[in-house]
Amino acid sequence: MYALMALGITLTVSVIKLPNFAHAEYITVGAYAALIASQQFPGNPLLIIVIAGTAGALAALIAHLTVFRALEKQRSSTYTLLLASFAVGLILRYSLFILADSTNLFDRRIQVSLQVLLREGSLIITNIFAWVVPTSLILVMLLSLLLNHTPIGRDMRAMANNLDLARIIGVRVERVKNWTWMLVGLLAGSSGALWGIYSSVSPLMGWFAILSVFAAAILGGMSSFTGTILGAYLVAFSENTVMQFLNFQLGVDFSFKPAVPFIIIILILLFRPQGLTGLFDFLRRGELRR
């Protein structure tokens, strides 16, 4: 799940060159769309995820067309864009508050009843696990196919590599940007839906997670796909495992757990800003930047 969210960030940072904090709200938008859809069409998780992805994609595209495109045109600095993304996030977040308030949808789970499908010793597979993991994997695989084997994917990779060069060799930058944003929103929205199935939906859910998601993307090196997926699993893993270790061995309180991904961010940025990709040369085939 982290992987899905972080992939969106990686795509934005590498293709659009914008650290987008409104990404958090695309996730939340997706989750709310899924929640409302789940009340309309109960018991159809696939449809719910598709609706969530569409909602996320729409949110991202609209934000791009109304805000980011104009700002990029006037050659704003990265910080301006960063601030703008905060502002977009603010607007979306409190719009969702109004929605949640009028429909009384706070802290609701998307109801997909939990069942244990398989229990073999310590290996337990629940139906939620069976939904979330394959869906994530399929989405990631589709994305990888899209990037590596379609013209639009090629253009995206070109833009990630060198924007000016991409422009010169005839990539229709604006169109590719629109597509990228939609893809980013799709990823965010569907991850929001999956997350809502796993825990619960509230207007602040994306906002609380966004820094961890950034940690995953940064750990992955912000440029490579496999790196990001790896980074995501490592952040999820380290948040729990590192903290577990600290807790069991050194008695560090779990109250400090949210600090773990943040410390990862700082350490990576300070000591290994290229992320993990260099360490995993054999995985490089999936990289955006060669």
Binding site: Y94, D107, Q111, S113, V116, I124, S199, F208, Q244, S255
Partner: protein, 402 residues
């Protein structure tokens, strides 16, 4: 751009200072302040609480009108943003803008403490309907925490339940905020004072993304303590967090095998909408308390009129906001709209007030002292909570129904 900003400012200014409320002849309108979190993680409570308070004001005004009184109440609300500083600002704004002397709210103990300095200095009275943190129990200040009892009682109730159920050890998972810290700490002392054995406390940061590491730790602790006697698990967590925890507990062999206790938040039917979770909690012999014991004549009328007015049933604790507003208004009617007079009168009035769940009676800290919890478990037949017993704060005894 400048023109836009100027227009905007003027618009806001006009909004702010035009008196939109149409004053009626001869009526004396007394303002009741409402400071609640509308934004932030607890945003859902603010809205609901405010509705409870509005309902109380409407009913009171209807009665006043019927009685031919010239006094009317109005409730004005302000967002605390869920932070202490926001609460301080909200209370200040209400007082300075409307001359309200009594504020109903805010929600959490840390918000209440944020507003404390200002209200103490300016002779304003806070009537907090749901703040229960141990850290807020301060004698002599202008803060009254009516209706919902401080956590010392909940801690004692759970300690008694644990003893009655024969648990020797307990593992506590609590949220790291004034509420969770205080409750876990009190529970430990009360449980051990009553003859219980080991208590292991695990805390988690507020608004967690997931709780799997914490669950692993809890599970390990339960396994460890089971070696020295029967062990239970006590969840001091909010609803959303409990849902995350339950996802993991469902497949954790240790946590599925142990008995569960959970704070009042968790006696929420929403939790049982998922059949798997309902089954799990039934199997875990899950017990929770509810201060709303449905035992007074006011309970059902409140729920009915709230639903009629706002189209949905009141959320958890909303009835306390309703009660707090009533106590505040009654005191003002008796003592006048003056903070200091209200402060000295309020304990007397509240001690003579029948609430929607329980009678109010305040201790030397200005906190609710009549405590009567119902004990709830999942019904063996249906996914719903049913009463299985009660706890009396005066005698500190737990009784189970036969």
């Amino acid at each position: 751009m400048k023109r836009f900003l100027r227009a905007l400012l003027i618009a806001v200014f006009v909004l702010a200072f035009s008196n939109l409320a149409v004053a009626q002849d001869d009526l004396e309108i007394i303002t009741l302040g409402v400071a609640q979190p509308f934004t932030g993680p607890l945003g859902s409570f603010g809205q609901d609480f405010t509705r409870g308070i509005q309902l109380a004001v409407m009913q009171m005004n209807a009665q006043l009108e019927a009685a031919g009184s010239k006094i009317r109440f109005e409730a004005v609300s302000q967002d605390t943003e869920g932070t202490p500083e926001g609460a301080a600002r909200a209370v200040r704004t209400i007082v300075q803008t409307t001359n309200a002397q009594v504020i109903v709210g805010p929600l959490t103990t840390s918000e209440v403490l944020g507003a404390k300095q200002f209200v103490d200095e300016n002779g304003i009275v806070i009537v907090a309907p749901a703040s229960s943190g141990v850290a807020g129990g301060i004698p002599g200040d202008n803060i009254f925490r009516v209706m919902y009892p401080p956590d010392v009682y909940a801690a004692n109730a759970f300690a008694q339940i644990a003893i009655a159920r024969g648990y020797q050890n307990v593992v506590v998972l609590h949220v790291n905020d004034p509420f969770g810290n205080g409750l876990a700490e009190k529970f430990t002392t009360e449980f051990q004072a009553a003859g219980g054995g080991d208590v292991t406390v695990v805390s988690y940061a507020p608004n967690p993304i997931d709780l799997s590491a914490e669950a692993t730790r809890v599970s390990a602790e339960v396994a460890r303590l089971q070696g020295s006697g029967s062990t239970a698990f006590f969840c001091v967590c909010f609803l959303a967090d409990a849902q995350k925890l339950l996802q993991i507990a469902l497949v954790d062999p240790t946590l599925s095998a142990v008995e569960w206790m959970g704070i009042e938040n968790l006696a929420n039917p929403q939790l049982l909408e998922d059949a798997a979770i309902a089954d799990f909690l039934r199997a875990a012999n899950f017990i929770s308390v509810s201060f709303a014991d449905n035992s007074t004549p006011l309970t059902q009328p409140f729920i009915d009129s709230f639903t009629a007015e706002f189209g949905s049933a009141p959320g958890p604790f909303t009835n306390y906001a309703f009660d707090a507003a009533n106590i505040a208004m009654l005191t003002i009617l008796v003592a006048g709209n003056d903070g200091l007079a209200v402060k000295s009168m309020l304990p007397f009035i509240s001690s003579h007030y029948i609430g929607t769940a329980v009678q109010a009676y305040l201790d030397e800290n200005g906190d609710q002292a009549v405590v009567y919890y119902g004990l709830f478990q999942v019904s063996p037949d249906a996914p719903e909570f049913v009463a299985v017993g009660s706890y009396d704060g005066a005698t500190r005894v737990v009784t189970f129904n036969q």
